[in-house]
């Protein structure tokens, strides 16, 4: 396997979705190719960085407005039937 072929299979490899035969070939390539191994490490760290990114909070005032708008629309869509 060449570095080019490794590159093409990289997504599946780091996501753990590559088929076992390809995984095995990749592992063999990586064991013998230090730069590729570092690229794989860097790539995993890159993805982790963004997965662990700061959570974005919904500002409470914004949440209030969203729910108010929703309730108004809900009332239009579900008019309360006159009580019997």
């Amino acid at each position: 396997m060449h570095c080019d072929e490794l590159l093409a299979a990289l997504n599946e490899y780091v996501d753990g979705t590559a088929n076992p035969a390809i995984c095995e070939e990749l592992r063999r390539h990586l064991a013998a190719c230090d730069p590729c191994q570092v690229v794989v490490d860097n790539l995993r760290q890159t993805i982790t960085l963004y997965r662990q990114g700061q959570p974005i909070e919904l500002p409470p005032a914004c949440r209030e407005r969203l729910h108010a708008a929703l309730r108004e629309r809900w009332r239009q869509l579900h008019p309360v039937p006159p009580t019997a």
Binding site: H2, C3, D4, L7, A8, L10, N11, V14, C33, D34, P35, C36, V38, V39, D41, N42, L43, Q45, T46, I47, T48, L49, Y50, R51, Q52, G53, Q54, P55, I56, E57, L58, P59, C62, R63, R65, L66, H67, A69, L70, R71, R73, W74, L77, H78
Partner: protein, 213 residues
């Protein structure tokens, strides 16, 4: 109602109740998903006002389309798809006369070219956990994502930041799964390159392996 605590009620149950006219059930669904919808919109649009607009449109569209929701996808995928579509509309409006960018966001031509080769290869000086914990490095991380082309940034956001599957990302953006995979690989490799130039340890730099045969 003699309900189990809300945490034990599935989205699907809440959807059926909301479809039957239960506003509280819909608001419970909203409470579960509103932060994620808002975060996705804010990451896509980088503007709080626009993100709120998208969140509002998303839940209004959801309540209007609720009767037609048959549960083929999960509620969360469905709602994120609506939000993505609403955010894309704003992006297109913003791009205005820049029709090239509009075409770029939806056109798959050019996706088949070779994948960029890693150039700067080095072990990082710090772990991802340490890097996200500091303001200065956080800004670099955000800047790197902001610098990506829109077509790569959107795929990366949905797949890697929001955690959608390749298929869900493809559906949300109206792309094929193959296009999503190609764009995702490019996005990841570009971010890797950029971040390794920032965070790589020059003393532990490797030369790229050349295979020119």
């Amino acid at each position: 109602m003699t309900d189990a605590p809300e945490t034990e009620v599935t989205d699907a149950t809440l959807v059926s109740r909301a479809q039957a006219g239960d506003l509280a059930a819909f608001e419970a669904l909203m409470a579960r998903h509103e932060r994620r919808v808002y975060a996705l919109a804010l990451r896509m649009l980088r503007n709080e006002h626009d993100a709120e607009d998208v969140a509002q449109q998303t839940f209004l569209s959801a309540v209007e389309g609720l009767a037609g929701f048959r549960g083929e996808a999960s509620f969360s995928t469905w709602i994120l798809r609506i939000a993505t579509y609403a955010a894309l509309k704003i992006i297109r409006k913003r791009n205005g006369l820049e029709l090239v960018s509009l075409d770029e966001a939806t056109d798959a031509t050019g996706d088949g070219d070779g994948v960029p080769h890693p150039e700067y290869i080095a072990d990082w000086r710090a772990s991802p956990e340490q890097l996200v914990a500091h303001n200065e490095t956080r800004q670099l991380i955000d800047a790197a994502l902001a610098e990506l082309d829109e077509k790569h940034r959107l795929v990366f956001l949905l797949r890697d930041v929001e955690g959608l599957s390749v298929r869900e990302t493809a559906e949300a953006l109206g792309l094929t799964e193959v296009n999503v995979k190609v764009r995702l690989l490019r996005a990841r490799l570009r971010l890797r390159e950029r971040l390794t130039r920032e965070f790589g340890d020059p003393a532990r730099r490797r030369e790229p392996h050349r295979h020119d045969e």
